[in-house]
Symmetry: C2
Subunit: 324 residues, 2 copies
């Protein structure tokens, strides 16, 4: 099987690559070729008997996408994108990468013109939704994004559905919830604290909680995000139907419940490293974020997330800390 | 006041131009400049004391949009577009005109960079919605288009909302229902019969009704469509809020009720010219079309359609037949 991953140097891209290498293939089919692409050089793992390439560049550049699909990969994971905060600060870069890059890839596939019809798995986001929200956001809630990033993801979803309907490729869009616990260091994203309040104390470091414990949000682990991608690659297109974009499941918990889970998993000495220090700016942003999703279609199609925040913490410990 | 109309040579564009000329302005402000643009030459009316220009070309061409907004029009009516049937047959043309053309116009405004922030009125369509539908389609029904045209209109709506949110212009998207009675001749559009069964008998001509009388659909007259555009030009942006795309009101009637209205307005001799001749192909298409809309937001913002199909027929007689 030939596989292409765009955005392969990002956190999810790296973990997806590791998973495919560990499994030795995708859906039981061994890897013949694995092509990794990103704006910075992705790490190319060694896979015995397979061709592995690492490519660097801007997907929106002329002919870049043609070159990426030259080997006619059967499965394309399109993860490449500028993140929410950057797309808001740099309007032109956001549209260039998230819209033009996505469209360039889709167009290259359409224009191949030799009967090529790959499975395309596109990582969308719950940022396609905008406040105000009901208590539980149904699968058919209307998308009214309140960020440029969410707008670009919504346009990607619309293109994916149309290109799939026309038979140019067989697309699945997966709307990821907040990924938690993100490995690495705290960053300036408003959502950073959801991961930091778990990751930093587990590493013996103090951390600030900038919002009230009552804040409710939906999370999935990096391991689950990779699981969604692998599952999406193998789905029967007819079973999905014309509505190609699916809201992924996750664990809906309050920040207080996150902390209780941390105490159950790691003890009171760890939880004591969390210092509550309300930040009105962060809270005012977070109040406009979606809380809980129904995700009925995705669950019915077999997408599985953790069943508790305890499991999310244990996944983080196993995947990030056991190696260290 | 300086006004720009794209798609000015189309049916709605011509009627909008006539209305503005007849009113001598827009929202009580006299016309200083009226710029008309289309892919075919629009007719430039003579307006005493005003500059009128008629421009021809492809909006997606390099620099075309810059040239269009060179005079910094305060109101831009963006009507240009390839229609549904053509966008489905010619995929590339549909995306070029409906997506690239729209984006080129929006980008030209953004890049003006001199504080320019016009009101942009964009004609979207109920084609952004796709079956299955509830009995009454609410304002917040999720858009899942089932045509490339509907996809392109949805993308235009998303861009309009984001460019407005960012303050690059002050946009209003209006989703038009089926325009009925369309003047002119029957065409190959599946929706053609909705107008033909009124227009042709009124002109003394026989006509075929290809669907059962029970088919329910929502209509607005060309006069109302122009009224929506003029009303949208004068709306207070703050009153609209961040959800910039509005489903216009209309008259929801069955085909049987259309024919009853025709009999009331024009008599039995006219109605006898309608021959029922079911066409399974047309019916199978029409069954996937939306029927009735709530349009609560648009009505609350002052958009007004006819209150009966009788009024739609009378508008057609006054606007199209009284002159003949």
């Amino acid at each position: 099987m030939r596989i292409l991953i765009t955005g392969a140097a990002g956190m999810v891209g790296r973990k997806l690559t590791e998973r495919i290498v560990r499994d030795g293939g995708l859906g039981g089919r061994p890897i013949a070729e694995l092509h990794l692409h990103d704006i910075v050089p992705p790490h190319a793992p060694d896979i015995p008997g397979a061709t592995v390439s690492a490519m660097t560049g801007d997907l929106a550049d002329e002919n870049a996408a043609d070159w990426l699909i030259a080997s006619r990969p059967a499965v394309i994971f399109h993860l490449a994108g500028v993140v929410s905060g950057e797309a808001e600060v740099d309007f032109e870069k956001g549209y260039r990468v998230n819209l033009d890059g996505t469209r360039a890839l889709f167009e290259a596939i359409r224009q191949a013109g030799d009967g090529y019809c790959p499975r395309v798995v596109f990582t969308s986001s719950i940022a396609v939704f905008g406040a105000p929200f009901p208590d539980v956001i149904p699968d058919d809630f209307h998308p009214t994004p309140l960020t440029s990033y969410g707008t670009q993801k919504l346009i990607g979803e619309a293109l994916l559905a149309d290109y799939s309907r026309r038979g140019f490729f067989d697309g699945v869009g997966i709307r990821l919830p907040t990924i938690c616990v993100r490995p690495g260091k705290p960053n300036k994203a408003a959502s950073s604290f959801f991961s930091s309040i778990i990751r930093e104390p587990l590493a013996g470091l103090e951390v600030v909680l900038p919002v009230p414990r009552s804040v409710l949000h939906t999370h999935a682990s990096p391991r689950s995000a990779v699981g969604f991608l692998v599952h999406a690659a193998g789905l029967d297109g007819d079973a999905i139907g014309p509505r190609r974009n699916l809201t992924m499941p996750g664990v809906a918990v309050t920040v207080g419940e996150q902390i209780e889970a941390l105490e159950r998993v790691a003890g009171n000495n760890v939880v004591r490293l969390i210092r509550e220090e309300p930040d009105e700016t962060v809270w005012s942003i977070v109040q406009n974020w979606p809380t809980r999703f129904a995700s009925e279609r995705a669950r019915a199609l077999g997408f599985v997330a953790e069943d508790s925040f305890d499991a999310i913490i244990r996944a983080h410990i196993e995947d990030e800390m056991a190696q260290a």
